[in-house]
């Protein structure tokens, strides 16, 4: 189990290394817009989970 986890983490680190540099260059504005979209969508999903719990109770 421990060995498998170690191997998995090593693989993830290898992937992070392989894709460290994005090939497509994004302007700062695009990067900020994408980041905002990501946070906003996660916020909406949290709201939906909240509604789900409300309905469940």
């Amino acid at each position: 189990m421990r060995t498998s986890l170690k191997r998995l983490f090593r693989k993830v680190a290898e992937i992070n290394q392989r894709y460290r540099e994005p090939r497509i260059e994004m302007s700062r504005a695009v990067r900020v817009a994408l980041e905002f979209l990501r946070i906003y969508l996660l916020f909406l999903v949290c709201l939906m989970v909240y509604k789900f719990i409300l309905l469940l109770n």
């Binding site: 894709y19 460290r20 540099e21 090939r23 994408l34 969508l41 916020f43 939906m48 509604k51």
Partner: protein, 422 residues
């Protein structure tokens, strides 16, 4: 004589074109019809029962929406020869890549749960216990994927796609009024005005027609099938045909429940089938068979979308053309997702209907993130060359993203302030 030879030549040319299409056909039709999965059937059945024919116009609008979104994956897959997960990692780096991959895994697994919910509900009508349905489905899917060829898998999937058309004769059997359908369904209207419930249903309907897994699935299927740049026009046609087919089936489901169960609060397609059994035994049976088929088709495709994406990123062998010895992790992740999703359905007292509707809405909420990446990748002229997005395609894609974000936001607002849209 000249006329006959010309006619013969044209017929021969047409036959060759059909033969060529039959070779290329598959990913577009399979992904679009599989999109009418158990959650989809539940959503359409509930929409018809709740709003009658009133939202048919909205469903019809989803044909071009589904086509524009999915055809981008055909171009990207055929040109780059890599799946969407790998393309996102490569194009935008590991941080964005992990975000997209984890997002996909989560939504796919939740959707897979809804497929099992649909299949167990459908077979429950015929007296089959849920545990037997789950075991039977996992065994059947093991047989389908372990034959070791993409071609065979695709042809079996196409067979299940054909069974999805069962709702068309079902709709004719209940003799709906064509005048009512045209009058009530084809003129855009918002039944009951703007409120949280309407936003929820509009989002759920978008969520069943375009979902994140479809983007990843079709692109990986295009790559696994080995489609080339020259095949792109046929791939696009395949996608267009699939888009039309999926929405036509959806409209026929709305007609069935809109005619027979209008005004009834239907919570699931299984419940709709049970109600229909009382009015018309055959239509009820068709509804149940269709629901099972939809769940099975959805499960076949969604579990593959996850395994393909994992394989691309982790560098595992990830093709249906490889057997279990050659691609052990590909099949392991496939069966892990399948079995764990199946087990959720067997938890006593789990709120299965609520899960089904919410998964559709969460899927559509997370869709813009994957869509934005897809549009940006299609604008990379260096890689895409002549297959780069045109201004018109970018505008359409941008409009779809904006529309989904606005609808999700409206629903979010209605959750926070329930009385605002009363």
């Amino acid at each position: 004589m000249n006329l006959f030879s010309k006619l013969y030549y044209k017929l021969r040319k047409m036959w060759k074109a059909i033969q060529l299409y039959l070779v290329i056909a598959g990913p577009g039709i399979v992904v679009m019809v599989a999109d009418n999965d158990a959650g989809g059937i539940t959503t359409y059945a509930a929409t018809g029962a709740k709003f009658g024919y009133h939202l048919i116009w909205f469903l019809a609008l989803l044909i071009p929406v589904a086509y524009y979104v999915q055809e981008m994956t055909v171009r990207l897959g055929a040109v780059t020869k890599r799946g969407l997960a790998e393309a996102i990692f490569d194009g935008f780096g590991a941080t964005w890549g992990w975000y997209a991959l984890i997002d996909l895994m989560l939504v796919n697994w939740l959707t897979l749960v809804t497929e099992f919910i649909g299949m167990t509900a459908a077979l429950h009508i015929f007296g089959v216990p849920p545990w037997l349905t789950v075991t039977g489905v996992v065994t059947l899917m093991a047989i389908i994927v372990l034959n070791g060829r993409y071609w065979t898998w695709e042809k079996i999937a196409l067979l299940f796609c054909a069974l999805n058309l069962i709702y068309i004769p079902a709709a004719f059997m209940i003799h709906p009024s064509l005048a009512d359908i045209i009058k009530g369904g084809l003129i855009p209207n918002f039944p009951g005005g703007f409120n949280g419930q309407l936003f929820f249903f509009l989002m759920a309907n978008i969520g069943t027609t375009i979902a994140p897994w479809m983007l990843f699935f079709q692109q990986s299927a295009v790559v696994d099938k080995g489609m080339q740049e020259k095949d792109i026009p046929w791939g696009k046609f395949d996608t267009l045909l699939g888009s039309a087919l999926t929405v036509v089936v959806a409209i026929f489901i709305v007609i069935v429940t809109g005619t027979t169960l209008n005004g009834t609060d239907i919570e699931s397609a299984g419940q709709a089938a049970e109600h229909l059994m009382q009015t018309d035994r055959y239509v009820g049976t068709f509804m149940a068979i269709g629901l099972f088929d939809a769940g099975l088709l959805g499960a076949i495709c969604i579990s593959l979308a996850s395994s393909w994406a994992f394989g691309e990123i982790f560098g595992w062998a990830h093709s249906l053309n490889q057997n279990i010895k050659q691609a052990p992790w590909f099949y392991a992740s496939y069966f892990f997702a399948l079995i764990t999703a199946g087990l959720v359905v067997l938890i006593p007292g789990a709120p299965l209907v609520l899960i089904t509707l919410f998964v559709q809405v969460i899927a559509v909420t997370l869709l813009p993130a994957a869509l934005v990446f897809l549009i940006l990748l299609l604008n990379d002229r260096h890689t895409m060359g002549d297959y780069c997005n045109s201004v018109w395609q970018n505008l359409t894609g941008g409009f779809i993203v904006a529309a989904i974000v606005i609808l999700s936001s409206l629903y979010g607002i209605s959750v926070m302030f329930p009385n605002l849209f009363e």
